[in-house]
Amino acid sequence: MLALETTDLTKDYRLGFWRNRVKRALEGLNLSVEAGEVFGLLGPNGAGKTTTLKLIFRLIFPTSGTVRIFGKPLDDHSVRSRVSYLPENPAFYDHLSAQEFLNYVASLFGLPAAERRRRSGELIDQLGLSASRNVQLRKYSKGMIQRLGIAQALINDPDLVFLDEPMSGLDPLGRREVREVILRLKERKKTVFFSTHILSDAETLCDRVAVLNHGRLQGCGELTAILRLGVTATELVLEAPSAEVTAALVPYASSMIRTGERVRLEIAEESKVERSLEIILQRKAKLISMNPVKRSLEDYFLQKVGAEEVEKSGRSADL
């Protein structure tokens, strides 16, 4: 079953005093997220990631298109109790303590008092807020607020969690904790949808990713497939090769870097890799390692975003 499905989701904003100028923030977004997967929505700042999340939660309304969660619209309140949302740079009631705030949020889900106490206590401990549970939120640091945000997003044990820039404001320890939270959710077969512009996080956590830029979907696919397709070259590392060996390998290598006693070669074509290995074996050179050079998610992202930028500059040049 699809946890989330958007069909031709489009959002236009009307600007100007007479509201006669139209700014398209999102165009024809078609996304589907399977239940139980971790899905990353990537994009540079202003790409439309937060707009997408706000449309999903009906904080803003679509110009056209639909959103369905577990096959139903979000207006259906049976769906609302199965999902949760952490907004970007969350803000909470600063006169409340963490305990009070989580209790309030839990009561909005209709949880009984004993259950509210149990869950809020567990989440406060899990997210490292035990020492500050009764401190007013106005005294919390940004990182603590972010952790509390994750806690409130998990209070109802949701089946689908939406996180908008969940690592924002966190130190490396905090980021690791959030990564562990997401991985634990995945182990429990929960669905996680998170938006980020930090690609390393997406690469570590996501099953599938989508790239958004200027409100349009640039690409979408399984992470393993994206990275597998991106084997661009083979890397060979030699220990103290003779000048004769390096000279023989130069015609086959697209790059050759010497670092102390070691020489690193990158060879693009597979046929050239075979020929290079023959040379190394014949001349009895010492081969330390041989690895595929894989395209990173960053490369994929830049390719998708860059293609959009080239197309836009081309169109503006034509004008």
């Binding site: 949760s84 969350p90 009631y93 949020v105 889900f109 209709g110």
Partner: protein, 257 residues
Amino acid sequence: MRVLTIAIHTFKESVRQKVLYNLVAFALLLIGASILFGSISVGVEQIILITLGLTSVSVFGLLIAIFIGIDLVSKEIERRTLYNILSKPVRRVEFVLGKYLGLLLTLLVNTAIMTVGFYGALYYQEGRLGRDDLVFLGAVYFILLQLAMVVGLALVFSCISTPVLSAVYTFCLFVIGNFSADLRTFGEQTQSALVGTVCSALYYALPNFATFNVISLVAHAQSIPAYLWVGNSFYALLYITMLLALAVLIFEEREFR
């Protein structure tokens, strides 16, 4: 249930605001001071105490209703705490109703405190409290109806405007509402049919607060007529319902960018 949860949360948030304590303290001070003002002229001490005391309850209640009412929704929007709440299984109508009831509860508690202060001052001056003094509760009831309508107005403006403008609009409508009878009279006496129609329409559309002011009546030991009890209660209920419906309508269509 969610309406009640939001109402209780709003009440707790309101009572933690320092401006509330300052206003209530000031009101109690003024009520206390009205005992001294009564000594200006012999024979009118009680009238002055009742008039000044109940007017203090009304004015400070109005200030509380406006100061806290204007922030009901706009503060949540400005601070983006609303995003979190609306992502929960909370309907927008539940949010608006909860906010309204929460502030109403705050006003109820504060008016009760000021009323106790008023009766305290009365007891100090008269040395006793009797069944006759219960009539002042009628004036307090009408003050509460007025404040409930003012909160409704503040809530509507809070959904569409900034806090400062909401305060200005609410206050202006309160003032106009106290002179709505003059508006009708002007409309009846004008020679222009258009002006007359406009004045008449405004008279019915704008809230009529004048009929809720029975302070002068009770200060002169007169009882509140039955038609005012029934009429004002129905009018307030109807007007509050309309205001809440308008607030909900506005809020349902509002986008939070």
